[in-house]
């Protein structure tokens, strides 16, 4: 995926100013920035929920504006920050919605769909709850259901908007490890928006740091993140501690 000279504005207020960035295949890329820096807008532009004013997002060299919703859903799966469904919907029913892009009026669901649904539920460890209604699940389990629904789309790219909000720390780590294993074991390209700097550093390979609608840093994590760039992105002075294999930001 490639972002080329992308600009966007709400009315007269410019949100993104001609930004460019590259999402490398098979990597985990995290979009970082303070509130109102335009990261949600960027996410919506990358997921075809908004139309750019100029520039575009390209998938395998093709502008995603020219890819129809259905085709796009076969290539890119998205987990939004906030999700809801009727309380009595079962886990399996929800995961099965992930097969929507492959269904049509003439084609009923077949064994390929069944396999994809079962697989998605096993990968996310929710198979044992498959007949339970959504309202009986914990926050962490629900989030895994939404991820399973996206996985059932069988895409190579997965985009997640703040997948750990509303969750306590134990579930946050569970979800992020799951995402990491999707990347490592299945080779999925992952793009996510994260708030927590340390989690972003720990779990991702690449970062895109935004401030006021511009890209401040982007690229390989170790090169991109240091005290100076963090100061520039978030506007606060944070200490960075380096150990043998990881960086930690003292966010206090």
């Amino acid at each position: 995926m490639e972002i080329k000279d992308l600009s966007f504005q709400y009315g007269k207020q410019t949100v993104l100013q001609s930004i460019s960035a590259r999402i490398r295949k098979g990597k985990i890329t995290t979009i970082m920035g303070s509130n109102g820096c335009g990261k949600s807008t960027l996410f919506y532009l990358m997921t075809k929920n908004l139309k750019p004013v100029s520039g575009g997002v390209y998938l395998n060299g093709k502008n995603i504006q020219e890819i129809c919703l259905k085709e796009f859903a076969k290539k890119v799966a998205i987990v939004h920050q906030y999700n809801s469904a009727p309380n009595d919907t079962t886990v399996r029913t929800l995961v099965a919605y992930g097969r929507t892009p492959y269904s049509s009026f003439y084609r009923r669901s077949g064994s390929e769909d069944e396999e994809a649904i079962d697989w998605a539920m096993r990968v996310t460890n929710i198979y044992e709850y498959k007949d339970k209604p959504l309202c009986t699940l914990s926050g962490g389990q629900r989030q895994r259901v939404w991820i399973a629904m996206a996985l059932a789309q069988k895409t190579e790219i997965l985009l997640l908007d703040e997948p750990t909000t509303y969750l306590d720390i134990r579930y946050q780590i569970q979800i992020l490890s799951l995402i990491k294993s999707l990347n490592k074991d299945l080779g999925m390209t992952i793009v996510m928006v994260l708030h927590d700097i340390n989690q972003a550093i720990y779990y991702s390979d690449e970062v895109i740091g935004l401030k006021e609608g511009r890209v401040i840093v982007q690229g390989e994590l170790n090169e991109a993140i240091n005290s100076a760039t963090l100061q520039e992105i978030f506007g606060v002075n944070l200490k960075v501690v380096e150990t043998k294999d990881c960086k930690y930001v003292l966010a206090v």
Binding site: K48, N49, C68, N83, S84, N87, Y97, L134
Partner: protein
């Protein structure tokens, strides 16, 4: 699963029993063997009277009940709002106003009045959507705008009724939602439109399920949410419009029936819609039958019975509506 099946079976039996009871309520009574014999074998004067007077009325109650209930289910799916009812948000009033205008000015086109009613419903629906749209739809704003739209069309309807001195019985019948004088002609008008509408509703039931997710999520499943909304709304308006053109405005059916149906069979539209068809038929027929019995020999229209029961129910739903859609 078992609860769903039981609910279906019990409701079928209740509906069959109610139809038979309704056939037999009044000054003429026929037994079941008499009825079957009179219908299919030999002429029987009593059965013939029942056939001409009570059958059309029963069938119309059944068909319009089904149509209104399903219309309510569809509006609730589209608006993500458990309080949406074609009667309350002005769709039925718009439809009946159009139907009344046609019967007044072009009586010869009477057979097409459902189509005009559909047109009136579309106008009302468009008004409700466009006026309550403010970077998204919020449930409460839809209801408030809907009530205003409803008031305007109901007012116009009453005005027309007064302008004709209440003499045009067709107009009065639609305004008062009186289905006591219905004939087989009315049944023929209604039945095809209702069948098309109900089949349409069954065909979009899968899409209705998707609409219960967040819009962004549905979009990223490769579905054009706006197109689905327009399609489902069109079916809902069609159902409400045709029912209204023949049976008049009957509010609260589209509200009460889907709500009870959800409690019994859950919120999956693939079972919810068929169940609402049965339960809607049952409810309106019950209201109409009760209206015939309560103050016999005088009759209370089904719409009034529904309003008296539906009002308190609406308040009850309003009070607990925040629990209906969870995370």
């Amino acid at each position: 699963m078992k609860k769903t099946l039981t609910s279906f079976v019990v409701l079928w039996l209740l509906l069959a029993g109610l139809i038979f009871a309704s056939v037999n309520l009044g000054s003429i009574r026929v037994s079941l063997p008499e009825l079957l014999k009179g219908l299919f074998v030999a002429y029987n004067e009593n059965v013939a009277v029942v056939f001409d007077l009570r059958f059309p009325r029963i069938i119309i109650a059944v068909l319009s009940g089904a149509a209104l209930a399903v219309s309510g289910v569809l509006f609730q799916a589209v608006m993500k709002n458990p309080l949406a009812d074609p009667g309350i948000i002005g769709i039925s009033a718009g439809a009946s106003f159009a139907a009344v205008l046609v019967t007044m000015f072009f009586p010869a086109w009477f057979f097409f009045s459902p189509i005009f009613a559909f047109g009136g419903g579309v106008v009302a629906c468009f008004l409700v959507y466009s006026l309550s749209w403010k970077s998204g739809l919020t449930p409460l704003r839809i209801i408030l705008v809907g009530i205003a739209v409803n008031a305007v069309f109901s007012g116009l309807l009453e005005a027309v009724n007064y302008m004709t001195g209440g003499r045009q019985s067709v107009v009065a019948a639609i305004v008062g939602a009186n289905i006591s004088m219905k004939t087989w002609d009315d049944v023929h008008t209604l039945v095809w439109y209702v069948l098309v509408g109900l089949l349409g509703a069954l065909a979009v039931s899968g899409r209705c399920n998707l609409l219960s997710l967040e819009d962004k999520t549905v979009r990223n499943l490769g579905v054009n949410v706006h197109a689905v909304r327009v399609l489902v709304s069109a079916v809902a308006v069609l159902l409400a419009g045709i029912a209204t053109a023949v049976a008049g405005v009957i509010s609260f059916v589209g509200l009460i029936v889907p709500h009870i149906a959800r409690l019994l069979v859950g919120s999956n539209h693939r079972t919810l819609i068929p169940f609402s068809i049965l339960l809607g038929s049952f409810t309106v027929l019950l209201a109409d039958t009760a209206g015939r019995v309560i103050a016999a020999p005088y009759e209370i229209p089904a719409s009034i019975v529904m309003a008296v029961i539906g009002g308190p129910f609406f308040i009850f739903l309003l009070r607990r509506s925040d629990k209906t859609y969870g995370n």
